[in-house]
């Protein structure tokens, strides 16, 4: 721990000879803060994310189309006219309603499925590992693959109508809303399952024993003992699911193709069509900014809820560690989710 000891070591070559003594008064690991290591990643993120974001905001105030695209900075500046048009003269409000309602609906359906799945694999049984792997299959399949095969299944003469003996046009008209909701539920419930698993792991054995001593029924145990443990992870799961469902472009795009039936005209696809089908770039950028505002609401809740600092110096209490488990798991699982969207 002392200077003499470290000087007797031969392998301290990395330390400069004139290392100032005063530096040692700071905490050891704080002695040298290599902030330059942030530079490569930080600068790149700045260039590839922040710059396009600012450009996007500027484009939203331009009357930009395919003719002015190459000299976009000389396109006519129209201020907030694009936003006005988006709200009054485009299907934006309709799309916001579709996106938000779909997202809330799908999240509400996935929560019970995910919780049931997590509870079903909590206790050991032969083949549990296999079941857990199978549970994640809908989640790891690429969204464009899922969209492709559901599109085939939902054809008018497809297997869904054949098996159920129905005659529904799933890919056109009003039924398409339910088709999209169903497929989104199919692919996204394992995310709730993953977070619920983390919550279940926090239930102490003592609690199980106390419940067994009191002779509670399985349902009472779930309702009054296990579910309260899931409240934290589940609220996180709900927020993140809503966020990612709103942003989902791939599934509606692949499932229905362009043009979308009006009943599933979700925000991301509407923005896409405005850009690359109608070539109204300014209008499209304005729509994208509106969708960012919608997304910002759950995002804000999420950022407030998540604990960024684990505070390991203070020695986390057991309760804190549990909370950490939830927060640490969530973004990781969210990554998987994000990687799909």
């Amino acid at each position: 721990m002392t200077a003499t000891r470290s000087q007797t070591r031969p392998d301290t070559s990395a330390r400069r000879p004139g290392d100032p003594r005063t530096a040692r008064t700071r905490a050891l690991s704080e002695r040298e803060r290599p902030l330059w290591m942030l530079l490569p990643g930080g600068v790149l993120m700045l260039v590839v994310i922040v710059v396009p974001l600012l450009v996007g905001v500027y484009i939203a105030m331009l009357d930009l189309d395919q003719y002015t695209l190459r000299q976009w900075f000389s396109a006519p500046f129209v201020g907030l006219a694009n936003f006005a048009e988006a709200f009054t003269d485009s299907p934006l409000l309709h799309s916001i309603w579709i996106s938000v309602s779909l997202s809330v609906l799908v999240t509400a359906v996935t929560v019970p499925i995910g919780v049931a799945a997590a509870i079903s694999t909590q206790n050991r049984f032969p083949g549990r590992g296999l079941v857990r792997s199978v549970y994640l299959i809908p989640y790891v399949l690429p969204a464009f693959v899922v969209g492709t095969f559901f599109r085939t299944m939902l054809q008018p003469q497809g297997v869904v109508n054949t098996v159920f003996g129905t005659d529904v046009l799933w890919l056109n008209g009003s039924a398409s809303y339910w088709a999209l909701a169903g497929v989104m539920v199919w692919t996204s419930w394992p995310f709730v399952y993953l977070l619920s698993l983390a919550g279940l792991q926090a239930v102490d054995n003592e609690v199980h024993e106390a419940a067994a001593l009191d002779g509670v029924t399985w349902w009472a145990k779930l309702r009054y003992i296990v579910f309260p443990y899931l409240r934290g992870p589940l609220s996180l799961a709900v927020i993140i699911s809503i966020l990612h469902n709103i942003n989902n472009f791939t599934l509606p795009f692949v499932l229905f193709g362009i043009p979308l039936p009006s009943s599933v005209e979700v925000m991301p696809v509407l923005t896409y069509i405005a850009s690359f089908q109608s070539f109204r770039f300014g209008l499209s950028a304005a729509m994208a900014i509106c969708s960012l505002v919608i997304v910002a609401i759950p995002l804000f809740v999420y950022l407030r809820a998540v604990r960024l600092d684990t505070g390991d110096d203070a020695g986390p209490t057991r309760k804190q560690r549990r909370a950490d488990l939830a927060t640490l798991t969530a973004p990781a699982a969210a990554d998987l989710e994000g990687a799909r969207a």
């Binding site: 290599p34 599109r151 199980h208 923005t271």
Partner: protein, 320 residues
């Protein structure tokens, strides 16, 4: 679960994995009336457990088996809505390579997504290391920013990136749109925050003591990162690389706009296959199913190989 040696735990347990403590304490009690149900941690009665698992697995398996069956069925039979193939054929797997440029798509996807994986994982390690181990002004803002960036709608960035690239081309004559490089840079916008966050969560779980020991021995931060942190964080690096890879592999939004027929990723090739058949008279659903499976196989293989890291490693490992 093996920690409980309480007398009422597992006394009549029938599963063969009962621990020593359990078998010692077991003789104290006579078997109860519910022979399967005395594990205190059990959450569901056995019958309900079987029902739940069976229902969920059926829910998953019905569509998954459908693509497997569809891919070995004839195009016409799939179009008729047949679930089980009346005759097995592997012709679809042979035909898809000629119907569309699936091979080229696979190569493009692997090159682009692979480069994104390597680059973002490499950059993420050092960024995450500084964010986790050192305290400085703006640190929490950066962490918050990493999370927020993951939720930015792709459609918000698509257009500006497209416009910037188009202008680079007209200003310098270097064509960016349609190249793999353009796609690579675009995917980095999403992969970098992901990978960095994954590394942050991973590095948090590593004990600080090893780094402190190295520091006492006089190692610089660069040296510590290289010789202590890096060797310990391979699982995290692998996971963040995989996430970055999947991001590129699964993307449809950017690749439909920013690729030419030569640089199309496999996701776009599958879309082309899907739309190609709608104009034509002959349905090629069987081939679509086969191509879907070809697109899914690399992802599922990655998942199976690294499953422990991807699911268990990140959740369990991060709390020690």
């Amino acid at each position: 679960m093996s920690a409980h040696g309480t007398p009422f735990a597992g006394s009549t347990r029938t599963r063969p994995t009962a621990t020593l403590t359990e078998s010692i304490t077991a003789p104290g009690r006579r078997p109860g009336r519910r022979p399967y149900d005395t594990d205190v941690t059990r959450l569901l009665p056995r019958w309900l457990l079987v029902v739940v698992i069976a229902v969920i697995i059926a829910f998953i398996a019905a569509p998954v088996l459908y693509i497997l069956f569809g891919s070995v069925n004839s195009d016409v039979a799939v179009a008729r809505g047949e679930y089980f193939p009346s005759e097995f054929t592997l012709a679809n797997y042979v035909a898809i390579w000629d119907t569309v440029a699936l091979g080229q798509g696979l190569v493009n996807s692997i090159l682009t997504a692979g480069a994104v994986a390597v680059a973002s994982a490499a950059l993420a390690v050092s960024t995450a290391y500084v964010l986790v181990r050192f305290r400085f002004l703006g640190r929490l803002t950066i962490l918050r920013g990493l999370l927020a960036l993951q939720s930015i709608p792709g459609t918000l960035l698509l257009l500006p990136v497209f416009v910037v690239f188009a202008n680079i081309a007209s200003a310098t004559g270097v064509q960016v749109i349609g190249t793999r490089w353009g796609l690579f840079v675009t995917y980095l916008t999403f992969a970098l925050p992901f990978s960095t966050w994954v590394m942050v969560t991973y590095l948090r779980g590593l004990p600080k003591e090893l780094e402190e020991a190295a520091r006492i021995d006089g190692a610089s931060s660069g040296r510590i990162l290289r010789s202590v942190v890096l060797p310990l964080s391979w699982p995290g690096i692998v996971v963040s690389a995989i996430f970055a890879f999947l991001l590129g592999w699964n993307d449809v939004l950017f690749s439909t706009i920013m690729t030419t027929p030569n640089t199309r990723t496999v996701a776009v090739v599958l879309q082309v296959l899907g739309t190609a058949q709608e104009g034509g008279a002959v349905p090629i659903y069987g081939q679509m199913m086969a191509a879907s499976i070809v697109c899914a196989v690399p992802v599922v293989a990655l998942y199976l190989v690294f499953q422990r890291y991807l699911v268990g490693g990140l959740t369990a490992g991060s709390v020690k």
